[in-house]
Symmetry: C2
Subunit: 319 residues, 2 copies
Amino acid sequence: MAITLKQLAELSGVSIRTVSRVLKNQAHVQEEKRKQILSLAKRHHYVPNMAARNLRLNRSRFVGILCSDAPYEIFRQKLQDLEARLESRGYYPVIACCDGSGKQLNKIFSDWSGLVDIVVVSLFDVEISDELPELLEQHSMMPIYVDQEKHFPGHHLSIDRATGIRDAISVLIRTGKKRILRCGCLQSRETGLQQAFSETPEQMRPELLRLEKTGTFENGKLLGDQIMQSGADAVFFDTDKMALGFLNYTAQHGIRIPEQIAVIGFDDDISGQIIYPSLSTVAHPTEELNKAILSIIEEKPAQAIKKEFSTKFIRRESC
Amino acid sequence: MAITLKQLAELSGVSIRTVSRVLKNQAHVQEEKRKQILSLAKRHHYVPNMAARNLRLNRSRFVGILCSDAPYEIFRQKLQDLEARLESRGYYPVIACCDGSGKQLNKIFSDWSGLVDIVVVSLFDVEISDELPELLEQHSMMPIYVDQEKHFPGHHLSIDRATGIRDAISVLIRTGKKRILRCGCLQSRETGLQQAFSETPEQMRPELLRLEKTGTFENGKLLGDQIMQSGADAVFFDTDKMALGFLNYTAQHGIRIPEQIAVIGFDDDISGQIIYPSLSTVAHPTEELNKAILSIIEEKPAQAIKKEFSTKFIRRESC
DNA sequence: CTGAAAGCGCTAACAC
DNA sequence: GTGTTAGCGCTTTCAG
């Protein structure tokens, strides 16, 4: 099918080396031969076989991405952005949905061996096996950890949740909310909240209520009654999913947002933008993060990179 | 880094062929040697280099996926389902976001040459260059076209929009709607609508209104006034996006759904499930379609497969 | 039962 | 300027 260097060499009556030189613009080759080879190559649609090149050079343009199977919108959004960026630089993502078990990781890496040498670890809500670094080492793959709790050796790009959350809560405080409810139980959401409170002069500090439930859509919806009875005038949810569940409840019960209660979520799910009232939320630093991934891939720094990116508050109609 | 067959052969003092035989369980090898080789392989974490294997066998386990960059939720949903299915069978998706131009396609296929031999074409909203079949041929890649308008040679899996739409409209008619508005201008949405109407005895047939605008969220929102003034008691939108735009409008204006007007969309975007009232819609046959893709990949049928899958009406709160 | 060897398509060091 | 050649790591035919 596809023509090879060797065939091209035979066709043009020169050595494979010369063909290679012409095609790669290395050194000088007689203009005449050059042209002939070039036209021959074009006519036969010569394309280097990347499998062979990769084998020879022991590197590839494929970037493995380990992601969770769970349908978190924000995840897919990030992924899509990354895909586009990779491709624009001539890299391609190879996706594996992963549960984090050593067994599965081993299978994946084996299937990728020699074809993928950089792995972006972007797992969420799964328990990652401690064998991961060892497995990566064995398969000689370089990991880039994105927003991972476990501190495996390698590049780490993390997300500072506090900044965006602090700004969000500050807005609530500044707009005179007196009873703020925090709904959820993720430790990572706590710092920003505390910051906003401690920045506020004591006499102006609102009351802080808590409802510690996991941040699912269902929970947001089910807790509706309880939230409204709490007397809170503003509520911050751990996740947009949960906030959206609550907004579903309020829509159903004719509760006016933000007049009766202001709502802020976390994640910037697409759904938050399409509903009415649109959901104020804290957005992930997707762009910056993905840019950083790309720069690591392209520059392959010897030192392990550790960077943190800030989340950002996005004010919409719900507060 | 990674140990090779050759090294394993040297370590165990046999030929490379014998090692290979043991590792692949081909024919019999002296039990003693067998065990030694096996333990050696395990100790050194031997993993075959897929790049080399692919080169030799001229095939691969990577499946290229051409998808649109546009952030259509339904697209990503389908993609995610496909990813999981592929992986469960030991295949991996390699993603390229594509604008359909010959130039870009050529670049992508060149980058993939020898590494990808099956390409799932799942493009939407882009003009695909007519060079595609030729380019695929040149790179010896087998296409699987998913829901594509252009009839290039190869396997085609298409989506029958009519079935789900007919059922949707039938429900509207059965529930006594008298003025049904169709909002959108996609030709593909017309057949099912016509079917539902012509199946209905003439004296019971509702009135059919039309508003021919493209199915964007913005349009759904902007057309709110016009839709309400049309006097329609039910509206079918070309896309969930547009329906969601309209529901945003109705939420903002305190219009009761479905009492004042029943709403049905098309696509089954996630957002339609989380809002109140949840959006009745017509869903794509994602599972069946992706199963079919997998069976083509695994069975590599000689004959071009042409299959059509039906959409399905999902009734929720909005009608 | 086991091994030698060819070759997938490409790169690049090393001659001439 | 141009050609020869030795691999990258694997599979598999063909001889022993």
